[in-house]
């Protein structure tokens, strides 16, 4: 399964190991039959290990296309995307599945938990596909649920959990195989403000513990949690700026909102 892992492309240099994500002249064209739509126009981008990056843009800006490519759900039409040194352009669908399984933890806007399946089983899922033994899976899933603050709710079904709790299960699931990259696609899009802040705090915490987090959002106050903000428009990267995370300040604002909410 991991034959390609060590076979790094010839152009890879020493510092690439530090570059978790490297996009080189990435172009994505959608062929809808009658017309061809340019999703991404020659994007060059590097994200180092341990970064917390927010990708922003209006709908149709190409940020979802980028998300799909970064998440190894899709391949670039032209150019190269190196994830952890592996060129994904040449991989088959099943090889991409293996990469997603080991290298990427997904957090989606609509949680995407498997219905009628307990929180524990949902967290176990990526480990099941990694063929990890049942005992290890359960232990690790319990530990992760504990870590996101849902240790006591491991038997709950998704429909018995609030939106914020569901998203925390999804985060625990994203961490299951200890992937080097956490991809969060509008993770707070379906949450109220208080839950949103809780979830973003969780991402900040993961980042402080060394995780690389790529966050796709169109909300400024959510992007503000990141250490670097990249903006897209019409399939092109228009700005790439460092950001001072306002975690603490945001938290206080959130608290007041939280307290105010019931009234």
């Amino acid at each position: 399964m991991w034959k390609k892992k060590d076979k790094l492309p010839a152009c890879v240099t020493e510092n690439v190991r530090e570059d978790l994500i490297k996009l080189v002249d990435v172009v994505k064209v959608y062929d809808t039959g009658s017309i061809k739509v340019l999703g991404l126009k020659r994007v060059n981008l590097t994200i180092k290990r341990g970064e917390f990056v927010a990708i922003m843009g209006q709908s149709g800006s190409g940020k979802s296309t980028l998300m799909n490519i970064l998440g190894c759900l899709d391949r670039p039409t032209m150019g190269h995307f190196y994830l952890d040194g592996i060129d994904t352009a040449e991989l088959s669908a099943d090889e991409l599945s293996a990469i997603r399984n080991r290298k990427i933890g997904f957090v989606f806007q609509s949680f995407n938990l498997i219905a009628r399946t307990s929180a524990l089983k949902n967290v176990e899922l990526p480990m099941t596909y990694a063929h990890i033994s049942k005992k290890t899976r359960e232990e690790r899933a319990l530990m992760l649920l504990e870590r996101v603050g849902l240790g006591k709710r491991y038997e709950h079904m998704p429909n018995e959990l609030s939106g914020g709790q569901r998203q925390r299960v999804a985060i625990a699931r994203a961490l299951a195989n200890e992937p080097p990259l956490i991809m969060a696609d509008e993770p707070t899009g379906n949450l109220d403000t208080a839950s949103s802040v809780e979830i973003m705090e969780l991402f900040s915490q993961l980042h402080r513990e060394g995780a690389t987090v790529v966050l796709v959002t169109h909300e400024e106050n959510i992007a503000a949690f990141a250490g670097r903000i990249i903006r897209f428009r019409d399939g092109q990267l228009v700005s790439d700026l460092p950001n001072v995370p306002q975690s603490q300040g945001q938290e206080e604002t959130a608290k007041t909102e939280k307290e105010g909410a019931p009234c």
Binding site: N68, D74, R102, L113, I114, A115, P126, T128, R173
Partner: protein, 403 residues
């Protein structure tokens, strides 16, 4: 991973209980009817072979009958002397021989009248067929030689005629071959009937009894056919051949004009009928399982469409084409095998119920159950291939976007 897939499959089947049950119905009915028919067939076969075992596999009937439709000749009949001669010539093969004579007569005792079928036997008949004497004695050599009016009656008939089972020493009046005479009861026997025979006998008001064979061949001793029991271990086919040749020669007939009808050849034809029945059952099974399988394919296609998003999630989390394929194949196989198990329960239940109602010992072979369940799982597997491959091929991005 297999266990994981099975638990996922059972989970999915449980999530839609009613739908799963309705989908399984085709398989349930198919397997159920197969189990029922096969078990009925096996039960019948068991009973038939039981009857033959009682009748004796060495039993044969022999008579001369011109195949070309010509008239019978005087020499085509057998005589008592001839029977003795045959017994001598074929001493190594024949253990018992008689005229196969029987007659229907009404026995009268006081106001009671009972219809009887009297069977003519020689005194050594109990050596080849058990007669379970409960009172008195069997017919003996003196009864036969002296053409005595002595009879052995079956207990039930004796009770009907005399009001008591122990009728030894009593006398009744009956008419055999136009001559009315008094007959003495010397013995009473009890019939051991298997359920099938009992069922047949239940509709039959005629009682049975044994009389000396010589009474029925009297007065001219022209015997139309022979009943004989070969010795245990005799090769019936070879014996049939030599015996037929011998008779053809002595009676100056073609070999084809001599009929040698043995129970073992009848048993062969019974097996042929059962074989035909099995083929018909196989046909029914094939059709019902085909219909059931299509039902399963249909519902699996619906299920795959409904669960497109789940498939997308699984793929995003690292499920490979094979993982998704196996997941849905397992589900359709388990769905179908579950239908098979329920079908076995329904079919077996019906057969057992029937067995209880008719007081019959039913035969349900475990091998039939295993084959039925195994085959239904295979049907599920086969009809699951298309839906499962559809699921496995789904593109994760499209699947995740599916509402």
């Amino acid at each position: 991973m297999l266990l994981e897939n099975m638990s996922m499959a059972i989970h999915a089947i449980k999530a839609n209980k009613m739908r799963s049950f309705l989908t399984m119905l085709g398989i349930i009915i198919g397997i159920g009817s197969v189990i029922a028919i096969v078990s009925i067939g096996d039960t019948m076969r068991f009973m038939v072979s039981d009857i033959y075992k009682n009748a004796g596999v060495t039993l044969a009937y022999v008579y001369v009958w011109p195949k070309d439709g010509g008239d019978m000749r005087e020499s085509d009949y057998f005589t008592l002397d001839e029977m003795d001669r045959l017994k001598e010539v074929f001493g190594d093969e024949i253990s018992y021989i008689d005229s196969n004579a029987s007659t229907n007569a009404e026995a009268v005792f006081g106001r009671n009248k009972v219809k009887y079928q009297f069977e003519g036997i020689f005194s050594n008949y109990p050596e080849v067929q058990k007669i379970n004497i409960i009172y008195g004695r069997n017919l003996n050599e003196a009864d036969i030689k002296g053409r005595k009016n002595n009879v052995v009656l079956e207990a039930k008939g004796a009770k009907e005629l005399f009001g008591t089972e122990n009728a030894v020493g009593k006398t009744f009046r009956t008419t055999i071959y136009g001559t009315t005479d008094d007959y003495n009861v010397v013995g009473i026997y009890k019939e051991d009937l298997n359920p099938f025979e009992a069922m047949m006998a239940g509709t039959n008001a005629t009682r049975s009894g044994y009389v000396p064979d010589s009474l029925l061949t009297w007065p001219n001793d022209n015997i139309y056919g022979l009943r004989l029991y070969a010795k245990e271990g005799t090769d019936m086919n070879a014996f049939s051949d030599t015996f037929t040749s011998y008779l053809a020669k002595t009676k100056n007939r073609n070999k084809e004009d001599v009929t040698f009808y043995s129970v073992s050849s009848e048993m062969g034809s019974a097996d042929t009928i059962m074989g035909g029945l099995s083929a018909a059952v196989g046909g029914i099974a094939a059709i019902s399982l085909l219909v059931g399988g299509i039902g399963i394919m249909n519902i699996m296609l619906v299920s795959v469409t409904e669960r497109t998003r789940e498939i997308g999630i699984r793929k995003a989390l690292g499920a490979k084409t094979r993982d998704v394929l196996i997941q849905f194949l397992t589900e359709s196989a388990i769905l179908s095998a579950l239908g098979g198990i329920l079908g076995v329960a329904v079919g077996g239940g019906l057969v057992l119920l029937g067995g209880t109602l008719f007081h019959m010992k039913v035969v349900i072979k475990p091998s039939v159950i295993l084959v039925a369940v195994g085959f239904s799982a295979l049907v599920g597997l086969f009809f699951g291939i298309y839906p499962a491959s559809k699921a496995a091929k789904a593109d994760p991005i499209d699947a995740l976007r599916y509402e």
